[in-house]
Amino acid sequence: MNRLKEAIQKLYKTKVSELMDRLGWDIPVIPEDDTIIHAIFMLRSNNHIWVVTNKKDMKVVGVVERVDALRALLPPETLSYAYSSTHLIAKNVFMRADARVGDIMTTPVITASEDMTLKDVMVKMHRYAIERLPVVDREGKLKGEITLKSILIALTRGYKESS
């Protein structure tokens, strides 16, 4: 048990910059004015896609997860219009044939910065029940991502090394 505690303590102090996945071909990114079908193609092999203003500025404006796509694809008669929910209408492809990624994404997103500790990241992840955060600089530009999966992998690695 002490070994595990030690490994966790060490992990807490690690900075995001040491563990984050840096922006590269393997981090899924899509501009907000791209088509929904393109996002769906990407979601076949990604759990999520970071939505950015455009590929030049790379400012993060939202995220599309598989559940966001699911909401857009639901039969419209199952959506409830209890209280004038225009937002639901705008997020469904049957309601809005011209809908773009920016219309179906979840926005804004909770972000992390490179100098945060993993302890803070883990508290954030738990508090808002999310498994991954985009890492952004001061201007909100996407630098990479930090995921719960990579945190758990780092923990097991630290645990093994300590033996």
């Binding site: 209890a82 309601m95 809005r96 011209d98």
Partner: protein
């Protein structure tokens, strides 16, 4: 005490029955492709003193006891506040900015014309200046749900008329909510200058300063490490904004709406949307709609003056909106045909009208809350929200008959 049951026990029982009946009737209405809100209001009519008195006289006396009335009224009031807060939280200011030109001109036309017509109709019928303002404000905001659903069923939602209608709906709600301030705050013409000053003060403090400092507020809330602290801080902000709006423009709901608009900017508050929705849609907001229904005095429908008012409001609600939107859309560059189609799509009113009439009654803008004028307005509002909702689907079908014929040929 009533018999052997005390009033507080009765309140709990009443709220329980109200929620079950509201959601059940709501789902029946949704099944027939009508807004669930209508079902919730009808649930309220069944639970109102006026209806229950037919079976057990004396219910009215119990329901009007302060121990019963105040808690129920308060919950209904929180329901309105949460409804407007959620509506602000779900309003993307960016989509308002992106509102197309035709959508914008038609929205403005569709808000301004019914407001003016409503005001003059009120004055003409002999109501006070403020009651007439309320009448105008009642008629402004469209409820897009039924229109969107009908247009989708007919396969015309993705035409330029459908897109413009959806695009217009966000701005329309926004203007309707602003119209409530004017109705409640402008007690006399001389107070209008004072009201304008207060509106600026409210907008400056809540929207401009709020927008600037909201991130700091959420950061501070994040430092409080106890369970659901951020949710508590969020609701606290809604209450404080509402209080300030009540103080400046006598309309607490504006504060709730602005709090939503400002909080939407922060990702943390967005993540709380689920919690707030659960509290609102699952509890407080249905109580509000039941409460509205329960206040209706069914005897009012036997008075000719009430029916006359309802008929006039209904007429202006339909003609004012269709004409206002159509003229606006025509100015924006649509053909007359498309302009009329847009106008027809904007006929239904629902949530904002009910909120406006309720606030006007409670705020004393319509005289004694259980008095003649208040009752007439309430009944007339019920009639016009119901009728506008029911007639819209067939009217849309009629307005699009050429398009539908061509579709049939293909």
């Amino acid at each position: 005490m009533i018999g052997s049951v005390d009033v507080y026990t009765l309140v709990l029982l009443y709220i329980g029955v109200a929620l079950i009946l509201a959601k059940t009737l709501g789902s029946v209405f949704e099944h027939y492709r009508l807004p669930a809100v209508l079902g919730e209001i009808i649930a309220g009519v069944f639970l109102g003193a006026s209806f229950l008195d037919l079976f057990y006289s004396g219910v009215g006396d119990v329901f009007s006891k302060p121990e019963f009335r105040y808690p129920v009224e308060y919950m209904a009031h929180f329901g309105i506040i949460l409804l407007l807060f959620l509506s602000g939280l779900e309003t993307d200011v960016r989509t308002i900015k992106k509102t197309g030109f035709v959508a914008a001109t038609s929205t403005v036309g569709g808000v301004v014309l019914p407001f003016i017509l409503g005001y003059f109709a009120g004055v003409h019928l002999g109501y006070s200046h403020q009651a007439s303002m309320v009448l105008g404000a009642l008629l402004t905001a469209t409820s897009i749900g039924v229109t969107a659903r009908t247009m989708m069923d007919l396969g015309v939602l993705s035409t330029d008329v459908g897109t413009a209608s959806l695009s217009a709906s966000v701005m329309d709600d926004f203007l309707g909510i602003i119209a409530i301030i004017i109705a409640l705050g402008a007690t006399s013409l001389s107070s209008i200058l004072f009201l304008i000053f207060n509106i600026f003060l409210l907008v400056f403090v809540e929207l401009i300063l709020g927008w600037k400092f909201i991130d700091h507020y959420v950061r501070a809330a994040e430092k409080v490490k106890t369970a659901k602290a951020i949710l508590a801080f969020t609701i606290a902000l809604v209450m404080i904004f509402s209080a300030f709006a009540q103080y400046t423009v006598e309309a607490a709901v504006e504060g709730a709406f602005f709090a939503g608009l400002v909080l939407r900017k922060t990702p943390e508050a967005r993540a709380l949307l689920r919690d707030v929705r659960a509290l609102g849609y699952g509890f407080m907001i249905p109580i509000f709609f039941v409460h509205v229904g329960s206040l209706i005095d069914l005897k009012v429908f036997t008075q000719t003056s009430a029916l006359y008012l309802a008929a006039v409001i209904l007429l202006i609600a339909i003609l004012g909106k269709v004409a206002g939107r159509a003229i606006g859309a025509r100015v924006g560059g649509f053909s007359w045909r498309k302009s009329i189609q847009m106008g027809v799509g904007s006929i239904p009113r629902m949530e904002i009208a009910l909120v406006a009439v309720m606030l006007a009654i409670k705020g004393g803008a319509l005289g004694d809350p259980s008095g003649v004028v208040a009752q007439r307005f309430l009944a007339a509002t019920m009639v016009f929200v119901t009728v506008t909702t029911l007639i819209t689907p067939p009217l849309i079908k009629l307005a699009f008959r050429e398009e539908l014929k061509e579709k049939g040929k293909k």
